[in-house]
Every structure is written in structure tokens, then in C-alpha cells.
């Protein structure tokens, strides 16, 4: 299915949900406690930048605002947003999203703007960051109860933990399977499933994931790859790759896509447009809406729910929005080295501080391993699509 087709499908799914009376809370930053919204009886839906959005931001945002927030604002200003019960903005992740939340409250004062503020620290060796985020989540929960008269229900929470856990397990398996054999399922299909679930986390999107997992599992069993896949999944989660053994007949080149809030589906669509190259060269992405969401650990039921959700959110693999550049670079180097990667495509959202600051370090780290890199400045509209495709094609040719 094309990128545009996937978007249409997601929007149609959302409309259907709304029609059926579901109340939807949109969120922008991918690392949110989905279980919280489900515990309050809401459907959380990841709101993303879209291609083909005409301008509309100019009344409130300067041209140097990050292209992602310009796109989101334009969607809302142009009436392209569906009716949401509320929209959750992240605090303390990046300056653009921080300020966008404030601007949104003024410009669209009928919208219910919610905020979840994150700790930036990660490696402080005490539990202050977890406690801070847990309290933020608890306050958000109180706000949801008060604003909408929908209390936090423990049974809903327990069911949500199981449900989201299934999503993580299933998609982690699919990601890991592709590391062992990228042809086993297309990258586009995996990221379509992830996207669909994050947009409409319903039983039907989950059952599609389960069916796909079962199909890939069968193929992997036939090929004798199941154990290797499991080992990769564990290695990525733990950061310990010592037990990983890749097949001897890997197809080259093996590419990883790095970056932040860039749409994985857009990358797959770009790769598919390149003549004589297949998206099966993409072994893995490290993007916020892909890998970094998929490989987040689920909350444990033994903990207090708010502490458990905070721990889960903070377990998301390294985002450039928080501290730990050297940890992230070391983790990435381990991954590139142990998963036999030859090329790295580094995507940078235009005017995105976290992406643009991280890119030179990523390039340097990859260079130390002799992994070739290319940096791609992108905006959600893929406004320079022809040139981007040519650059990717030239890059891939250098890896042959």
C-alpha cells in the first residue's frame, strides 16, 4: 500500500471510531503512557505531520520553526484535524514543541490542550526522574478525571497493560525478524502495522499485527530462524549482543535509518521509488515512530501504576531530546557493529534542534566503524523529493 493509501486508511479508521462514539485523545510526542488513556476509557491516537499540507502556520509561527510543528499547526489551522477530545503536548522535550503547546492554547482556545512534562535526565542513578514523571502522569490522570468525568479504572488499566504489551511483543518480533532476514516481511508492511496501531489502537489493528506475527513466525520456523530472531529481540532490549548470530548468507547492503520524529512510512515510500533498489536493504530504523516506540518496555503490573507507566516511558531507547549523547552513540555503535550494517541514512527534520545537533555525532560514530552515512534534511511534505531520491540512490550505489 502506498504512503498516501496508509494515511487515508488511518484517517478512515479514526473517523469510524469517532462515529461509533469513541472519545479520542491525540498526542504528538510518541513516548506517552497509552495505558493511562485507556484506563480512563479514551482511545489515544498519535497525531502526525502529513505530506501535502498547505501553509497555514504563518499567523503564529515563524519560518524557522521546526517543519514538524509548522505542519501540525497548518493542519489544525486548515481544518484538517478531526474532532479530538483533547490534545497532549510534551513539555521539556524540545523548545519548538514546548512553545507550540502555549501557542495552540491561545489560537485554538476551544481545544483541550493537555501537557505531560518529561524529565530530561536519564543516568542519575537515583529514582528522581521516575518519581517526577510518575507524578506528572498522576496529575494528568487527575485532570482527565475532572475534565471529562472519566475516572481511572484499575480493570481498564490492567487490560490496557496486556493489550499494549501485545503490541510491543508483536512488533518487536517483526523488527527482529527483519534484522535476521529482511525479505521475510517488507519494511513498509511492518511500519504500516505500527502506524495503524498507534493511530487507532483497537482490537482490529491488534489482530492484524497478530496475524502477521503468526505468518512470519511460521516462515521463520520453516527456515529455522526463530531462535536467532528471539536472540536479536533480547539483544536489542538488553543492549547485550554477545549471543547474536546472524546467518552467513546475509544480503548486502544492509542499511539502518536513523533520526527522530520522521515518518518511517515516508522513508519506505522514498526507497521504493528508487529504481533497481529494494526496501529490503533497510534492516532496521532507529526512528521515534518506529524502533524507539516499538522497543519501549511495557509497565509491570507489580508496581504502582503511575510509577510503572513512568518507568515504561523512560525505557524508550535514546531520544536526542534527553541527556546521554555518549550512551546513545555507544548503543548505536554496538547495534551497527553486531548487526552487520554497512550503511546509515541519517534523517534530519528541517529546523529540528535535537535532530540537527545529533546528526554530526551519529556521522562520526558510524565513521569510526567504517559504516558509510548520508544525511538527509527532510520536511514532512517531502518538498524536495526528487533530489532526496537521487541522493539516496547515489548513496546506495556507493555501497554495492
Amino acid at each position: 500500500m502506498s504512503y498516501e493509501g496508509v494515511i487515508e486508511q488511518s484517517i478512515a479508521g479514526l473517523k469510524e471510531l469517532l462515529k461509533s462514539g469513541e472519545e479520542i485523545i491525540g498526542y504528538i510526542y510518541p513516548h506517552v503512557p497509552l495505558e493511562l488513556f485507556m484506563a480512563h476509557g479514551f482511545t489515544p491516537s498519535l497525531v502526525r505531520a502529513l505530506p501535502g499540507v498547505a501553509s497555514g502556520f504563518e499567523e503564529s509561527l515563524q519560518t524557522f520553526a521546526c517543519s514538524y510543528i509548522r505542519n501540525l499547526y497548518s493542519q489544525r489551522a486548515n481544518g484538517q484535524f478531526l474532532t479530538l477530545a483533547g490534545l497532549l503536548f510534551p513539555g521539556n522535550t524540545c523548545d519548538s514543541l514546548q512553545n507550540l503547546g502555549d501557542i495552540w492554547s491561545v489560537r485554538f482556545h476551544d481545544d483541550r490542550v493537555l501537557r505531560l512534562t518529561y524529565p530530561v535526565i536519564r543516568y542519575n542513578q537515583d529514582d528522581s526522574a521516575t518519581k517526577f514523571l510518575a507524578e506528572e502522569i498522576r496529575l494528568l490522570s487527575e485532570k482527565l478525571s475532572k475534565l471529562y468525568n472519566r475516572p481511572f479504572l484499575a480493570e481498564n488499566y490492567d487490560a490496557a497493560v496486556d493489550f499494549v504489551q501485545e503490541f510491543h511483543n508483536g512488533t518487536q518480533f517483526l523488527y527482529s525478524a527483519r534484522v535476521i532476514q529482511p525479505e521475510i516481511i517488507s519494511y513498509s508492511e511492518v511500519v504500516r502495522l505500527v502506524r495503524t496501531f498507534l493511530t487507532i489502537p483497537t482490537a482490529s489493528s491488534m489482530s492484524e499485527i497478530k496475524e502477521t506475527v503468526s505468518m512470519v513466525q511460521n516462515k521463520a520456523d520453516e527456515l529455522g530462524l526463530s531462535d536467532s530472531i528471539e536472540t536479536v529481540q533480547k539483544a536489542i532490549l538488553s543492549g547485550d549482543y554477545t549471543k547474536v548470530k546472524l546467518p552467513d548468507d546475509l544480503v548486502s547492503p544492509r542499511i539502518v535509518i536513523a533520526g527522530g520524529m520522521v515518518e518511517p512510512q515516508a522513508i519506505a515510500s522514498l526507497m521504493n521509488e528508487i529504481p533497481n533498489f529494494s526496501e529490503s536493504f533497510i534492516v532496521l530504523d532507529l526512528l521515534s515512530f518506529g524502533f524507539k516506540t516499538v522497543f519501549t518496555k511495557s509497565p509491570t503490573k507489580s508496581d504502582d501504576p503511575f510509577i510503572a507507566m513512568a518507568k515504561s516511558v523512560l525505557s524508550a531507547p535514546g531520544e536526542p531530546t534527553h541527556e546521554g549523547l555518549s550512551y546513545r552513540m555507544n548503543a548505536m555503535k554496538d547495534l551497527l557493529e553486531n548487526l552487520s550494517i554497512q550503511g546509515l541514512i541519517v534523517c534530519e527534520q528541517s529546523f529540528c534542534d535535537p535532530d540537527q545537533f545529533e546528526a554530526p555525532s551519529i556521522e562520526k560514530a558510524a565513521c569510526e566503524l567504517d559504516v558509510r552515512t548520508i544525511r538527509l534534511p527532510l520536511d514532512p511534505e517531502l518538498s524536495d523529493r526528487g533530489r532526496i531520491e537521487t541522493r539516496i540512490q547515489s548513496f546506495l550505489e556507493t555501497l554495492e
Binding site: 499567523e59 528522581s128 506528572e136 534530519e348 535535537p354 545537533f357 554530526p360
Partner: protein, 408 residues
């Protein structure tokens, strides 16, 4: 705008105490070099609770101030270019690019490059960029980064936010103590906090003197004289400087002497100044325009008092969490409206700084809100604080002219 006039007929008055600034800058530079050679120099962001490293006898320098110097020397494009050659985008903060560029090629930036740090202390109360910038410097120099995380607050600081920042300050003390084998003495932190508080109070007195008509200080005066309160608060010589400075300012007030010779229009300035074109203010002075208040220099008005280490830590938590840029849009609008009222201002100029997203995104909205609440007009001009490549003087002139037409 007309060109600046020859010196004998300059429309603005030079401060006598400006000469002292050079002495302070020289002293500060020498102390920093010595600290670096002795292995205890910290680079510190401007919103960092510097009282803590100073009380622990660390040397401190401010890369933002070094960026301002690079800008003022008009070598911003060249120095930022060194960072761009390393792969840092031109869209990124020009203070950061100037800092990365001058760290890469210190010999090319004799004034504006800083001695090698042994520690990088960042506080994200001014923006999220500082962490990423210091991470980049850490990669280049090997100095560790300590982040004091101060999550933005909306109106009031909630108890969990306070507890989290407090723990951060405690970790900061532990971090410096363990890395540099020293310990924080109660008497020393009290002394530093007291000196910091005295300097800040003097600074506030100078700022508030600008409520008078004519205003004894213009924007450029404050941008230059803020250097010690940014870079040396917590030291004796900082207090001494501001005692002289305030004496001169109050003498001007007493004698009815303004910062400019013919004050006709009083405006508010919002954001960091264009360091490469500080003459912007002098050229406007020739048209009778003075800026008695601005949101930038009013950011260093947090006042610390405390009787022991614990109470001083509490003050640090509150003071450094509630800085202007760490509050929401409403608080910023409130502050601007208050300044317009208190300083009896006729309008405002918002400098939309391309590389400072925390300060600048939201200005299009706050401009409308400030005008709505105060009834005074404002204008937004766009450019950058260090990188003059994105400063279009003709366009800025047209916009400011339009504002002045409404006011004169």
C-alpha cells in the same frame, strides 16, 4: 535609518563605568586561564546556579558571553562557519555554533575562544539547546556534562517539580565534590550567595532607575554592563563594579541626564540583541528613541538569600526554576505588559532571533496579546544575535520606521 553621527555629536552618552568593564573582563579571562591550567574550569550556561561551582572554588566562564563577543567583533559568520564545516546546521543556535567553531579553531578566534574546560555545567531553564550544545563540546574536549534539569513551569512551581530540581542541585554538589575532590562549606556558600545577592540587588536598582524620564540607560548600555552579573556574580569584584555603576546611574537620574540626548519615544526590547549591530540602538537614539527596559537583561534579577546550605539550596531551586524563559507564554506576556506599565513605554520591538527558538517562537502571538492588553503598538524584526548573515538591515529599518510613524 540615518547613519550614526560623528563622535562629538553622538546622540547617546557613554557611561564612565564602561572602562571598568574591560578590567573585569581581563581579570575574568586570566582567572579562567589559570583555572583551566589547574584543572578546574567549568563552562556554565547563563541560567546556571553559578553560586554552587564558585563556592566549590571552581573557575567559571560563560560560552554565551563568548558568543556575544564573537558577534560584537563581527566574526560570527566565520566562526559559526567552522562549526558548520563539522556538520552543524546553520539553523542551529549561533551561540552554540560560535562556541563549537571557536573550540575547533581556537587560534583563529583569539578573543572569543575559551580556555579548555574540565567540566560542562548546563541548566535547561533558558532552553533545551544548551544540553545538546554542551554534549557536542564534551565530544570535542572530553569534559563531562552535568545537566541541571529544570522542567518548565506554568505559573507556579508544583511540589514534585521543586523536589526534582532540589535533588538535581544536591546531585550537582555531589558531582563536583566527587570529581574534583572538594567539599561545600556552609560558610563559603553563604558568603557567595550573599555576594551574588548584593550584585543582583544593585543590578535591579540600575534597571529600575530606568523608570525615570529621561532613562539613564539605553538597551546597549545594559547589554554591555550586564556582563559581570552574568559572569561574575558571587564575587567581590562584581559587587564593586555594580556599586560604581549604580552610583553613576543614580547621579544621572539626580541630574536629569538621559542615556540619549533627546528622549522622545520609550520602547521595550524583547529578546537577545543583535551583538553584531548594537549600533541599531544608537542609530535609533539619534531619532529620540530609547529603550528603558528589555526582557533580556531583566532575566538576571533572581535574588538569593539564605542562612545556611539547605536554605540556600531552596533559594537556588526557586530562583533558577522561575527564570523568564522557563515560564509559559502567559508569564512572558505578563512580564512584558508589566514592564510597559512600570517603565511607561510607548511601544515595543520584538527581535525574532532565528537561532533561538525558546525565546522567539510565540512572539507572533504574544505581540498581539501585549498590544491588546496595553494598547501600545509593537513590531517584530527578524535576524540573529551572532550570525549577521541572516540580519537584513534594510528590512528591519522599514519595519521599525513603520512603528515610529505611529508613535512620532
Amino acid at each position: 535609518m540615518n547613519q550614526e553621527r560623528a563622535s562629538e555629536e553622538k546622540p547617546y552618552r557613554r557611561l564612565e563605568t564602561q572602562a571598568l568593564l574591560q578590567q573585569i573582563a581581563l581579570r575574568h579571562g586570566l582567572e579562567a586561564m589559570e583555572a583551566s591550567e589547574n584543572g578546574h574550569l567549568a563552562w556554565v550556561t547563563s541560567g546556571f546556579p553559578v553560586e554552587i561551582p564558585i563556592a566549590l572554588d571552581m573557575g567559571v566562564v560563560y560560552p554565551e558571553q563568548a558568543g556575544a563577543i564573537v558577534g560584537a567583533q563581527k566574526i560570527g559568520p566565520e566562526v559559526c562557519g567552522y562549526a558548520e564545516n563539522l556538520g552543524y546546521s546553520q539553523d542551529l543556535c549561533s551561540y552554540a555554533r560560535a562556541s563549537i567553531g571557536s573550540t575547533e579553531k581556537p587560534d583563529e578566534v583569539p578573543i572569543g575562544s575559551l580556555p579548555t574546560p574540565q567540566l560542562l555545567l548546563a541548566c535547561n531553564n533558558i532552553c533545551g539547546t544548551v544540553l545538546r550544545w554542551y554534549d557536542a563540546i564534551s565530544e570535542m574536549t572530553g569534559a563531562p556534562v552535568f545537566l541541571l534539569d529544570t522542567p518548565p513551569i506554568d505559573k507556579v512551581q508544583l511540589p514534585h517539580n521543586q523536589a526534582y530540581v532540589r535533588r538535581g542541585v544536591e546531585r550537582l554538589i555531589e558531582f563536583i565534590e566527587s570529581h574534583f575532590n572538594r567539599s561545600l562549606e556552609d560558610g563559603r556558600i553563604r558568603e557567595v550567595a550573599e555576594l551574588s545577592s548584593r550584585a543582583t540587588k544593585l543590578w535591579i536598582r540600575a534597571l529600575e532607575a530606568c523608570k525615570n524620564k529621561p532613562s539613564p540607560l539605553n538597551c546597549a548600555d545594559r547589554f554591555l554592563t550586564m556582563a559581570p552579573v552574568v559572569s561574575s556574580r558571587g564575587t567581590e569584584h562584581c559587587v564593586e563594579f555594580y556599586e560604581s555603576f549604580v552610583a553613576e546611574v543614580e547621579e544621572r537620574v539626580k541630574n536629569g541626564i538621559g542615556a540619549i540626548r533627546d528622549e522622545r519615544v520609550r520602547l521595550l526590547w524583547d529578546n537577545i540583541p543583535p551583538w553584531h549591530t548594537l549600533r541599531f540602538f544608537n542609530i535609533l537614539a539619534s531619532r529620540g528613541v530609547v529603550f528603558p527596559a528589555d526582557t533580556y537583561t531583566h532575566a538576571w534579577t533572581g535574588n538569593m538569600v539564605g542562612t545556611d546550605t539547605l536554605s540556600i539550596i531552596d533559594e537556588v531551586v526557586e530562583t533558577y526554576s522561575k527564570v523568564y524563559l522557563n515560564m509559559g507564554l502567559d508569564a512572558k506576556v505578563d512580564k512584558m505588559c508589566q514592564l510597559i506599565k512600570d517603565y511607561d513605554l510607548d511601544g515595543f520591538v520584538m527581535f525574532s532571533v532565528r537561532s533561538c527558538k525558546r525565546y522567539s517562537l510565540g512572539q507572533l502571538v504574544s505581540k498581539e496579546l501585549v498590544t491588546e492588553r496595553t494598547g501600545v503598538p509593537g513590531v517584530i524584526i527578524e535576524g540573529d544575535m551572532v550570525d549577521s548573515r541572516v540580519y537584513n538591515e534594510a528590512q528591519i529599518e522599514t519595519r521599525v520606521d513603520a512603528l515610529l510613524e505611529m508613535l512620532m
